[in-house]
Symmetry: C2
Subunit: 215 residues, 2 copies
């Protein structure tokens, strides 16, 4: 969401919600109780990552001329949506969700809300699974330049956002695929990425190369 | 998917894929190995329920004039997408996925692929969770007529499709919410639903009221 907002030049005030806290304010904005929620001044709350992305493309996309992050033809748009789901659902389920849960959330959450020591088996699964995801990214980039086609789209931002979480934790084996690494260096160099690279997670320093554009 | 295709008057040839079989043909159409996949004569494979829905709205929506199943304004479209995700993801995770796995798939699948006796705790969880989903549907219909607004949209079809699976198994406590029941009777009476009501699952008869329009 932050990458899309920055690409579209949309300023927002960020509000952090710890995932282990039940918040009535959040439930009022999104009955599912999940983040992200984008609160538009006119239209009110828009809930869910892909829902917000489509909404921003429809309402802010024209600001940036042809580079709207969403292509024009139905088939190209379908490919972007397929890949966004691949990265936000599948890469997240198989890799990034495990890493964030085990290495970040279990440290920050109180014991009564799932805090505790990390599950080594889950981290091993993530380390194994991330390799084929990197190779898939390399395969797509070799054929297309960007993930869903010639131009940067939501698919690139979704993949880069997920990978940046793993990269912060030093968990991306970049040596696995040189093309994927070159693609990530390109996305990471965009002005929209600057804020992400300045992030600090409480109680956990980023990997030394995390913010390095020439890693 | 079948409801949307029928609403748009699109004829398709259906191909069934047992979820426990690894199919190279399916992987070639969708690297995630999941259904549904819609194979368009010109554009090729389009994978994933919400991806296909958006694609069909963009390519076939104009056939049916104003009742395209997807509203015009960005805020209304966002509400449809939020609810589609609510039903296909959340209602499926909390209710219908359990019922199908425990009561259907475990019976049909070989023991080596997850077949076996049903988990009573999972079925109990589904029976408990479905109640608040029915009340949420009733709440939405009371305020809006259809789930996402005045008109029928993908949100209604997503909810009705999920509920029809539970209803086949006799697992929808319709007495819980009269408004939800009235809404389902309306959706179920549409010509697009006819094929769904004629479905038979191998080795499992539908609940006696399943195809009854006045249940």
């Amino acid at each position: 969401m932050r990458l899309i907002l920055a690409e579209y030049g949309e300023a927002v005030e960020l509000v952090e919600m710890p995932p282990w806290v039940r918040s009535e304010d959040l439930l009022a904005l999104n009955p599912a109780g999940t983040v992200p929620v984008f609160v538009d001044e006119t239209d009110g709350p828009i809930a869910g990552a892909t829902v917000i992305a489509e909404y921003l493309a429809e309402t802010r996309g024209s600001r940036v001329g042809e580079s709207t992050l969403m292509p024009i033809t139905p088939a190209d748009r379908a490919e972007v949506r397929r890949l966004v789901s691949w990265f936000l659902d599948k890469l997240d389920d198989e890799v990034v969700g495990y890493l964030i849960t085990e290495k970040v959330l279990k440290r920050l959450a109180p014991a009564s809300n799932g805090g505790g020591s990390p599950d080594a088996a889950a981290i091993r699964a993530a380390r194994s699974n991330i390799r084929y995801h990197l190779r898939y990214i390399g395969y797509l980039v070799t054929r297309r330049n960007c993930l869903a086609g010639r131009e940067l789209t939501f698919a690139d931002l979704a993949a880069a956002a997920e990978l940046s979480c793993a990269d912060y934790l030093g968990e991306v084996p970049w040596e696995e695929d040189a093309t994927a690494k070159e693609w990530y260096a390109r996305v990471k160099s965009r002005p929209s990425f600057r804020e992400i690279l300045a992030d600090k997670v409480r109680g956990s320093l980023p990997a030394t190369h995390y913010a390095d554009l020439d890693f």
